[in-house]
């Protein structure tokens, strides 16, 4: 197909008031996707360049702003890289504090994804309920760090703030509620015939493709690739906790939902163990100078491995600082999982990678003449209609299913 720039711009994917800029252009033949082009970097903020102008101890606050929803993972990966190059040993309790914050982040991120996935296929009750139970997690994070996002709680050598005294019982109490609701939701998903019919075999990423595209996180684990930085290259307090890596072999959207729900339950288990750990201790050591050298840090963020590479020439600023977020390697696989797919399945297939809500929002279908044939709203509608159709054919109501109260 010849690229027709004017027809792409007309969709308005570059609207600067919306969250993130990413543009997907699908080419279709009838109901099938024949090609997909992704364009990124409409809103490149030059964080790696900015980082070279800041001191080592200022950078955690910069990198926590790379991503609102993974704002604990980036600084942790960064400080691990710096601590590695400076040979810093972090106090044990600080490792537990980091673990608690990172796992609370995973819980709220996965719940957010489950809600959006529900919305994309017409289950708005799921959307409302998961977001209802995501709130207490954000409240906990606010009480611990002072912020719902952009926690700014790690620094080179440990943590900035400890878990406030007396917070343990509050955390345990909220976790019990979230665990109960997540279990209920997991059961509802596993028992819903309409969901099985709608999501199984959709957007399949084979194990071979997952390895070839070097994808990470839940996207890899749902294609049977058993990788998880928390276990493979242990950091924070993960080696001291009892938990397991969740994998599924199928590689479809259904498997992605199951893995994220089960991972949420594992995270709840981890936070509970970490919170109960006693006695507490110091939360940081002072780090004076960063010697010349290089360090690599990686962290299992909710979407997969977040990687930071830091080099020091002995001054107080990095030269250079490289950041790689998980979506950078997860997004290109769309070519593997979308080409040949049904148009109505594209929104949920793209969303299943959890690139970001806004990533899927900026999407258009181009017909063979290069005209915009379908915009995002229409694609979302197609996706939802397909679920309703399946439900009708099976003679089942669209489930409200879970109760939001309590």
């Amino acid at each position: 197909m010849k690229e027709n720039a004017s027809s792409i711009i007309a969709v308005g994917p570059l609207h600067p008031l919306q969250e993130e800029m990413e543009f997907f252009q699908l080419t279709r033949d009838g109901e099938k996707v024949t090609d997909i082009q992704v364009r990124i970097s409409y809103n490149h903020r030059g964080i790696e360049k900015l980082s070279e102008t800041l001191q080592f101890d200022q950078i955690p606050y910069l990198v926590s702003r790379i991503c609102g929803i993974s704002s604990a993972s980036h600084p942790l990966a960064y400080v691990q890289a710096v601590e590695e190059l400076a040979g810093v040993k972090v106090p044990e309790w600080a490792l537990y504090v980091s673990t608690i914050i990172n796992e609370l982040e995973r819980i709220h991120s996965h719940l957010l994804w489950v809600g959006l996935a529900g919305h994309f296929i017409g289950y708005d009750t799921v959307f409302m309920c998961t977001w209802r139970y995501r709130e207490p997690v954000l409240d906990l994070l606010e009480q611990i760090t002072g912020n719902r996002n952009n926690y700014g709680n790690v620094r080179v050598g440990g943590c900035r703030e400890d878990i406030p005294d007396g917070m343990e019982s509050k955390i345990l109490q909220e976790l019990a509620l979230i665990e109960n609701k997540t279990e209920m939701l997991t059961k509802a998903v596993l028992d819903a015939p309409v969901l099985h019919a709608r999501l199984k075999g959709i957007g399949v990423l084979t194990k071979e493709d997952a390895i070839r595209y070097a994808v990470v996180g839940p996207t890899a684990r749902t294609s049977g690739v058993d990788i998880d930085v928390r276990r493979d290259d242990p950091y924070a307090a993960y080696p001291m906790l009892d938990w397991k890596v969740i994998t599924q072999p199928q590689g479809d959207v259904f498997a992605k939902a199951v893995v994220r729900l089960l991972e949420t339950l594992e995270s709840i288990k981890m936070v509970r163990q970490a919170v109960r750990r006693l006695p507490r201790g110091p939360i940081a050591v002072e780090v004076k100078d960063i010697p010349p050298g290089e360090g690599l840090g990686h962290v299992e963020a909710p979407r997969g491995e977040t990687f930071h590479y830091v080099r020091s020439d002995g001054a107080n600023r990095p030269v250079p600082h490289k950041v790689r977020a998980p979506s950078y390697v997860n997004v290109p696989l769309f070519r593997a999982s979308c080409i040949g797919a049904d148009i109505a399945d594209v929104t949920i297939t793209l969303a299943a990678v959890d690139p970001c809500y806004s990533c899927t929002e900026r999407m258009a279908v181009v017909d063979n003449a290069g005209k915009i044939a379908l915009d995002f709203d229409r694609l979302l509608q197609l996706s939802r209609e397909k679920t309703f159709k399946i439900a009708r054919q099976m003679g089942r109501p669209l489930p409200g299913g879970i109760q939001c109260d309590g």
Binding site: I40, S41, H44, G46, E48, K49, E84, I211, R212, Y213, A214, V216, I227, V229, D232, D233, P234, G293, E294, L296, H298, E305, F307, Y309, R311, V319, P320, K322, R324, Y328, V329, P332, R335
Partner: protein, 145 residues
């Protein structure tokens, strides 16, 4: 599990200059410019390491490109380091033809540091705006905003 990178790299031993363990589970492999493709290809296709990302550095006297790989079984990083001495027209063989994940990062390094990747399947701009001037590379040391 401990990864023995020297043993692992034996089949391409004559194509690497040095192998160094910076610390536990962190390996750096220096590779001459002309062998970057066979060495990376060997690591990706034969040893089945996971490609993580590449870093471009405007270093003292040369441009460095680091291809970071991860051996997940042992949690080890293997970084292939290449120095490109030619500052007037820096270029390096592309690893994207056999590793689709490297496609974006090579375009990014091309935009930000001005290193060309020979044989790249789609060497268009990725990061910089369409109206950004040619020949101005924001991550170079001599860049003045």
């Amino acid at each position: 599990m401990v990864l023995d990178v020297e043993q692992m790299l034996r089949p391409v031993a004559e194509k690497v200059r040095s192998i160094r363990a910076a610390r536990d589970r962190r390996w750096f492999v220096d590779c001459p410019v002309q062998y970057v493709v066979p060495v990376c290809r060997f690591l990706f296709e034969q040893v089945r390491l996971r490609f993580v990302i590449s870093t471009g550095v405007d270093a003292e006297g040369c441009f460095e490109v680091l291809h970071h790989f991860c051996h997940d079984g042992s949690g080890s990083f293997v970084t292939v380091r290449v120095c490109i001495p030619d500052r007037s027209d820096p270029h390096l063989d592309s690893i994207a033809p056999f590793m689709p994940t490297a496609e974006w990062i090579e375009r990014e390094i091309q935009d930000l540091l001005g290193i060309r990747f020979d044989g790249h399947p789609n060497p268009k701009r990725l990061i910089l705006a369409d109206d950004w001037p040619e020949g101005v590379y924001p991550l170079r040391k001599d860049f003045k905003p």
